[in-house]
Amino acid sequence: MSTAATLLAIGAMALVTFVPRFAPLAFFNKRIESKYIRSFLHYIPFAVLGAMAFPGILYSVPDMRAALTGTLAALILGFFNRGIMTVSVCAVVIVYAFGVLI
């Protein structure tokens, strides 16, 4: 993507990030009554994260076997609540080690 296109994309992202934060604060004072709509909004980040993570992670590095090894490491460390930074760094180190060793 060219620099101009990237700048435009960043501007668009900034706008669509700001508007949902700002519009209700500025113009809306009532509560959403439907528990289904509120639940739907609540579950959105988890659904997004799931859809982004898989199967994307398997294609995130050139060698899929390395990606698979890194994925397993991330799943195990993530399950044991190791924190974003630790999980990320360990996955990278394991993928790199896989490339060097195998």
């Binding site: 508007v19 639940s39 988890f46 993570a53």
Partner: protein, 236 residues
């Protein structure tokens, strides 16, 4: 309480968030730069967006060369959750707060800052909000800056390996929440299943990445709302 001490109280309350944001900002800086976005633009994303999931998604799509409209729609969908936070937040501030101050308060709404501000007793003043957001905003941007400029100093093998960092971060965000909640497990699991289906089925695999995420998200979150409607307003 006077305005200065309101600001200072916000500043203090924001300290734990700063420690949370520095490393995530750093990881974002590293991964977005490793994916091919120039470092100064990566920093610009953090300065103007100030949101984790949305800008991660946006950066992923920029790297994939997705059309701008698609990037905007996808980012908007991820950020829709801010609508409920902003609605809730509107009940806590002075109704006659000037528009310019409302704009700054709105920009400050992230999952974490919203949570901290919501737990505060009494009215949330503008000075408290500006104090609360200052540390995390600097931490987020500074973390990104350090991550973005550290990346290009690394050898190619390491840079390529860092492609997995972004995705490992998604996993690190989902799993702790999934352990706590069956509903979150089902929602994330359904999203993964639908997403894998789109990647593998011959006809569906032609649909571009951004739209696949939107479709997966709507299906999984709607199913979650249908199966596990939340009774009380746990807005965080």
């Amino acid at each position: 309480m006077n305005t200065k001490s309101q600001f200072n109280q916000g500043l203090r309350d924001g300290v734990p968030v700063v420690f949370g944001y520095l490393p995530v900002g750093f990881a974002f800086g590293v991964t977005a730069t490793a994916g091919g976005i120039p470092p100064w633009l990566v920093v610009l994303i953090s300065l103007t967006n100030f949101t984790s999931a949305g800008q991660l998604m946006g950066a992923t799509l920029i790297i994939a060369g997705a059309p701008i409209f698609e990037i905007a729609v996808t980012t908007l969908i991820i950020n829709i959750r801010y609508v409920i936070m902003s609605m809730s937040f509107s009940q806590r501030i002075k109704p006659n707060m000037p528009l310019a101050e409302k704009m700054i308060a709105a920009f400050a709404i992230t999952d974490e800052i919203f949570a901290v501000a919501s737990l505060k007793k009494g009215e949330v003043t503008f000075n408290y909000i500006t104090g609360l957001v200052s540390g995390p905003y600097i931490g987020w941007s500074l973390g990104t800056l350090l991550g973005a400029y550290a990346t290009n100093l690394l050898p190619l093998g390491v840079q390529q390996s860092m492609g997995i960092a972004l995705y490992a971060m998604f996993i690190a965000l989902i799993l702790p929440a999934a352990r706590e909640s069956l509903a979150v497990t089902v929602v994330a699991g359904v999203a993964v299943a639908v997403s894998v289906l789109f990647k593998t089925l011959p006809f569906l695999s032609t649909i571009s990445a951004g739209y696949v995420i939107i479709i997966c998200t709507i299906i999984a979150a709607a199913l979650g709302a249908y199966l596990f409607p939340r009774e009380e307003e746990d807005l965080t």
